[in-house]
Amino acid sequence: MDSKTTKKLIKIVLLVLVISYTLDKLIFFGLNTISDKVMTGQSIGKLNQFLLVKDSVDILVFGNSRANHHVDMNLFGKKSYNMGMDGTGIAYSSTLINTLSKDKEQLVIVHIDTKDFFSKNYNGKDINGLKTKFNRNVYITDVLNKSNQIPFFQNIYYSINYNGKIIGIIKNFIRPGYNFLEYNGYDPLLVRDDQKEIRDLILAQKNTVDCESINEINSIALSYLQSIKDFVENSNKEFIFVTSPTFNDPCEKDNKLLAKTLRELGLTYLDRSNLFANKNDNDLWKDKTHLSKKGAESFSINLKKELQKVIN
């Protein structure tokens, strides 16, 4: 390699670093401006709406897609919000719970699943769902840094915050999917007639869960649970942990172990995994882990009654 080529190579490398860094910041700040105005959709809108209403509502629900699709907020009054989000877990919920105002009196329902707690593979990666707020929200940035889930490059290229979400953000910016002022975070799952045959096929499939391997609680999941417990102790809120129904739940062991763990932490837990165990009604289900609108309504009525008992 002669000196001319060396100079050219160094020039290209430096130019790429400078141009990509500058473009990244332009894109990042541009997307920040756009995304702050987006209040619909799961890419960022729902999170923005949560941050907007979190300290003004009386009842909040956290959890994964099962929380989102199972807890019908229409039964819990207008001042309630369901922050259930697809593909998230205890790490995501715990981080958001810790952003709440400690003084505000609220009922917080945390939907939890045994899956996270007894999977050896659970690593808290779901916290990445909050990366759109990395370098924008101090608390979330701090938790993300501590989680070791943030790729090295995200500290240089901020636009990684919006990885995989840009189309959804732009779509909801141009054309919001719904009126967010009337949205309470609950998304019922409707099963069309033409989907029922497939749904029945899914429900008829055998469960392949290895119940015997369920022994130890996942330490990462436990640490996030502990973080919620610490928050519970220092806040003015009522916390209830809930597990919603699962179709033909093949294991009892994990539910019992989780209940024991929550009991030991002094947290209230309602395990409703087998609520529909004896109801031979496929119309309650969308698939094996998700209730249909009909199932969600039935579960929510039951949950409301149970909550009244627990709170009173």
Binding site: T5, L9, L15, Y157, N163, K165, I167, D194, I198
Partner: protein, 469 residues
Amino acid sequence: MLFNSIEYLIFLPIVFIVYWLLKSNYKYQNILLLISSYVFYGWWDYRFLSLIIFSSFIDYFVGKKIEKANGKENKKRWLLVSLCSNLGLLAIFKYYNFFADSFASTMSTLGWEVNDLTLNIILPVGISFYTFQTLSYSIDIYREKIKSCKDIIAFFTFVSLFPQLVAGPIERASNLIPQIEKRRSLNSTLVKTGIFQIFIGLFRKVAIADNLGVYVDAAYANHEINNGSTLLIATIFYAFQIYFDFSGYSDIAIGSAKLFGFKFNRNFNLPYFSKTLTEFWRKWHMSLSYWLRDYLYISLGGNRKGEILTYRNLLLTMLLGGLWHGSSWNFIIWGGIHGLFLSFEKFTFSKLKINTFNAFGFLYTFIVVLIAWVFFRAVDLNTAINILGKWISLEFGPIFIGDINAFVNGLLLAVTGILIDLKIFSSKTPLEDYGTKFSTIRLSVVVSVIILIICLFYSTAENFIYFQF
């Protein structure tokens, strides 16, 4: 070590800098390349380095013996040592379980129960690639096309050179060894084309292929409940996933090699723009298809022994080509479909006295390739039959979208990738030389834009599909 990993991002510049600091002596550079290549491979599993060293040693030794041997018979005997050693490695590590299992199943069908003969064997990454590379070396010496390599370090470097070690391109000794045995230089053309190709390859892999893979994996995992339309969309997505995945890998490999002053042969040339399957195979995984042509098809007699034997040779070559990809009936059927249609084309062209089809040929080629991909992607034969059964029985309906973001991202990026291909296709400048079309500033802007697209769209890093072969 994966090309799309942080490790490679650190590894490549370090090796690059030390390599060019040693430019005064290419033999020192070769030692560095050899050590670096072993580090690159050992990062995955250092135990299997012994297989590469064994294969390299055998062919280095055999190459010399073939050259020195008197008479065709003696040369053939030494060639057999190479064939048995390399194919033996493949037989043990890649095919033993497949044949043991097939044998047990056949015996069971005939009423004889055989104990489980399969072994717990890990498939060493890249074994199919480097064994073919060393085999071609010995065969070329036997055919007196090349001389044996006298420099053991150069030969070992030829076998293990890290850009092409794990998934090709399968470089011929006639192309690579002469480059290893002389001083290399790096000029601005190589720098520009190399950098451009590395980044376009990364874009193809982590942005396009990995995003398409999200939908494909979900659809194929639930093939029993998904309808024909969903599986058709998933298979079309897979056609582009595997293309962008493997061509992306090849681009990074060829681009990386350029930075060390090496020129690899191209491995893809816009294969979906083909009017015939024959043309497709001249553009898809070219280093393998030419290998199969030169060392298998021609060795079987090629088209020199009459019409019937030509078709047999074509079919046999493609069946073995299928088996090269993996030890399962799916790959054999995949190869068989290609072999049958290549034979059909040969027959049609000879009877109609034509060289290619008209514009409908693009559609015909894509449909045949698509049907064959079902066998390639499906985890087993039953899955493939189930999917094709849904198409044949016209079991079509509303398409399952799943994660809308992943679906739209995959679709949008695939269209972008195809548009880039069309632009390159119309420019008549191959991708390998496309970097020369840019000034330094324009190239920097293009690379920066690619980096940002990757930041915004990269999907979960997966292994390259061809690593399993």
